[in-house]
């Protein structure tokens, strides 16, 4: 029990479970089951982008990818426009989406490496470029996904969204990558002490490159399926994912200072964030109050989780 309480991800899960209990008690068990299912669906998208963000943040102080929303939008817009509702183009569409992720990740990294711009500025300013490209390509119109993609994105197996299952598999694979492979340990070492990592033979820039590309590719994939899920690519589709990707990583018990990460907490934190907003909705609070409350809770979590180290 004490071992469990010391796990960095436990607070996110405690938070998620308490939010769910409150909602279920205030309404009824039927609504509770419904909100859980919705949380799983929406939480899946949070988790996919948060995995990439987690690897980036784990690289250490200053590393963060703020281009996630723009990357999602551009990937979804270009892919949806290309497919233009034709289900036979689904695979090429997905490849376009992946390509967008690869290009954006590479561009982000090149800005950081060669122009020596801090990642926070590089990814934020490059965002305008990506977002503008999305606007230019489609003048802000919503592009509908092929029906097949829409069906797939909401498909369920034994009541569990298929995408959620896929994201669970992805999570396990990424946990393996982080904790069991040379790449994962390299990321963790860089986050603790970049200079020491370099002198210990870790190929620092190579690892950073792969990490930023991976983050962008995950955001691109997330944008692709989110467009299927929500009925099309829209310019503001990635909006809430900027704050969400970072909040989920931090609440999930990953160290903001870098060098320490876990994936279990990402799920707890994703569910927590969705359920928190749902709970505030249940109480019928205004949007403004909801935002203030959300912010306050994130701050509180960071303070509490920072205390133990």
């Amino acid at each position: 029990m004490t071992a469990l309480i010391q796990k960095p991800w436990i607070w996110a899960w405690i938070g998620a479970v308490s939010m769910w209990l409150i909602i279920t008690i205030v309404t009824d068990i039927g609504a509770g089951a419904e909100v859980m299912s919705a949380a799983a669906s929406f939480g899946t998208f949070f988790v996919i982008v948060a995995i990439g963000q987690m690897f980036v943040i784990t690289l250490g102080p200053g590393n963060v990818d703020l281009s996630i929303p723009a990357c999602m939008t551009l990937s979804a817009t270009l892919a949806m426009k290309f497919m233009n509702g034709d289900p036979s183009l689904l695979l090429p569409g997905l490849l376009i989406s992946l390509g967008v992720g690869l290009v954006i990740g590479t561009l982000n990294f090149l800005l950081i490496l060669f122009l020596r711009i801090p990642p926070i500025i590089a990814t934020l300013s490059a965002s305008f470029l990506y977002q503008s490209t999305a606007i230019w390509s489609n003048r802000g119109l919503r592009v509908k996904p092929p029906e097949l993609l829409g069906d797939f994105a909401v498909a369920k197996v034994f009541g569990v969204p298929f995408l959620t299952l896929a994201a669970l598999v992805l999570t396990v694979a990424m946990a393996f990558l982080l904790h069991r492979t040379r790449f994962g340990l390299s990321v963790l070492s860089i986050g603790q002490n970049q200079k020491a990592a370099k002198l210990a033979g870790v190929r620092v820039e190579r690892v950073r490159f792969v990490t930023y590309v991976m983050c962008a590719v995950l955001a691109a994939i997330c944008g692709f399926f989110l467009a299927g899920f929500s009925g099309g690519a829209a310019l503001n589709m990635g909006e809430q994912y900027l704050l969400m990707s970072i909040a989920v990583v931090v609440i999930g018990g990953t160290s903001v200072a870098g060098g320490f990460a876990n994936l279990t907490g990402l799920w707890g934190a994703s569910l927590f964030m969705f359920l928190l907003v749902s709970m505030l909705n249940t109480f019928g609070l205004s949007a403004g109050f909801r935002l203030i409350f959300t912010g306050a809770i994130i701050v509180a979590v960071i303070v509490i989780s920072g205390r133990k180290t």
Binding site: T181, K195, A196, A197, L199, G201
Partner: protein, 480 residues
């Protein structure tokens, strides 16, 4: 009439989990005396000093300073008000602030309008008085200074005369990064400081320095004191005996038979050439380009284009543990196998069982003092952390080993073991490049390059490899 003993500690005990760091230590420091404290890594010296300076609380025992018994509320602020100042083994300056600003941090009594000016004057005077010719500006940002210069600033800061009293200065391995000339300046200053009635506790692995600077010497071993006597009753041999070490003085300068193998050079460029199987020393005053050259060799081995050509992979043993070496969140074994990840990868994943096995082997080979290699690296004393860094480099199997003054804070016995291992590695055909601030260690080298102002001034080998030749090439001709 004031009590003659300034500090008196009796029966001090301290445990960290299962490890008993101090098992009932008695220590007295008289006013106007310098007490030398020696012992193995992990003998408890630093822990004892942490208790005395209020950083940690003892589990049991009595401590009094200036005749006043200390209670549980004793902390670093109380220590400062009693006139106890400490220079820690791990440097504690803020790298983003200037030298003068760092003085202000530890001495809040410097305040009001123009504090910057008075801080600047105090630290500059102190530096000039202690280390003539130091060449450090009070306005220099600490981060831009070499590690040796930082150590000088840290020492000068501790001795600075400000409003608060100064009764006792604890120097925990103050000379580990200093060259001989600067270390001698410090010893001279310590003597004049105690002659004026101050007290000093000096911890060092350099026995000559301890014998020269101290009035009284205390030898610690396994968390207790094993010998206390006037310094004049000690000599090098007795110190080593009391610490429980066997010092083997086999090799002399230039006495090492070259193991150079008939193969093309692995490092070449400018005056520098290194062949497989050689142990190459980098000498000279600290901060004269030795570390930079090692880093450039390392970068070239990773494919960076610079003036050096390096044909084989290299590993680096950092001397500045905190900034260049240790991964603070990881266990000892993780800190060791981080450089061997490629070799340990079987299929997709790292073979952790093998990695832990190898770490246990290293624990035996280098006698790393810990109950469990899965403990956090920071649970080790400084010298033992350094051993882990050695294990990291030796385990990586790269043909070139670069060492950046790696023996900082390592005890005499372990040093002998490491020298032995290094010589075996050279025989196996590895090339070792070794920067050291301890002239004695150059005995173990085939050839030595002497650096001055970033350039190689001389290459010495065989009969030319003498302390006199090293010194004369380290200094400007006018000084020599």
């Amino acid at each position: 009439m004031r009590d003659k003993a300034l500090v008196s500690m009796s029966g001090v005990e301290k445990s960290f989990g299962a490890a008993r760091a101090l098992t009932g230590v008695d220590l007295e420091v008289a006013r106007g005396a310098c007490v030398g404290l020696v012992g193995h890594n992990g003998a408890g010296k630093s822990t004892l000093m942490n208790v005395l300076s209020g950083v940690i609380k003892a589990d049991a025992g009595h401590v009094s300073i200036g005749g006043e018994p200390l209670d549980a509320s004793y902390d670093t602020a109380r220590a400062a008000s009693l006139g106890v100042r400490t220079v820690f083994q791990e440097l504690s300056l803020c790298p983003n602030l200037t030298v003068a600003e760092n003085l202000r941090i530890s001495h809040p009594s410097i305040k009001g309008f123009g504090w910057r000016k008075s801080a600047r004057n105090v630290i500059a005077d102190q530096l000039d008085q202690m280390f003539p010719g130091h060449g450090i500006s009070a306005d220099a940002e600490v981060g831009s200074l070499s590690i040796a210069q930082r150590q000088i600033v840290e020492i000068a800061r501790a001795f600075s005369k400000v409003e608060s009293s100064i009764e006792l200065v604890i120097l925990d391995e103050p000379t580990s990064s200093l060259d001989q000339n600067t270390a001698a300046q410090l010893v001279a200053f310590v003597r004049s400081f105690v002659a004026d009635g101050g007290s000093v506790i000096l911890i060092s692995h350099l026995l000559g320095e301890i014998l020269e600077a101290s009035d009284q010497i205390v030898v610690m071993k396994d968390g207790r004191t094993v010998a206390v006597d006037a310094a004049s009753n000690f000599d090098r041999d007795r110190l080593v005996r009391d610490m429980g070490d066997v010092l083997t003085e086999t090799s002399k300068f230039g006495g090492r038979a070259s193991t150079k193998q008939n193969a093309p050079a692995v490092i070449s460029g400018g005056e520098l050439t290194v062949y497989p199987g050689e142990i190459i020393g980098f000498a000279g005053l600290s901060g004269h380009g030795q570390t930079d050259t090692l880093v450039r060799i390392f970068e070239a081995s990773q494919g960076a284009r610079n003036t050096l050509s390096v044909s084989e992979p290299a590993v680096f043993v950092a001397g500045d543990r905190q900034t260049d070496g240790v991964f603070p969140l990881w266990s000892i074994s993780q800190n060791i196998f981080v450089s061997s990840l490629e070799r340990l990868t079987k299929g997709l994943a790292i073979n952790f069982a093998q990695a832990e096995d190898e770490a246990q082997q290293w624990q035996k080979t280098l006698s790393i003092r810990t109950p469990d290699m899965k403990n956090n690296i920071l649970s080790l004393s400084g010298g033992n952390q350094q051993k882990a860094l050695f294990a990291r480099a030796l385990g990586a199997k790269a043909p070139i080993i670069l060492m950046d003054d790696p023996m900082r804070g390592v005890d005499v016995g372990t040093k002998q073991d490491v020298y032995e291992i290094l010589s075996q590695e050279a025989e196996k055909g590895r090339a070792l490049v070794w920067y050291t601030t301890e002239t004695d260690e150059l005995k173990h080298c085939d050839r030595v390059y002497v650096f001055r102002e970033g350039k190689i001034m001389a290459e010495l080998s065989g009969d030319d490899l003498t302390e006199a030749n090293i010194l004369s090439n380290s200094f400007d001709k006018e000084d020599a």
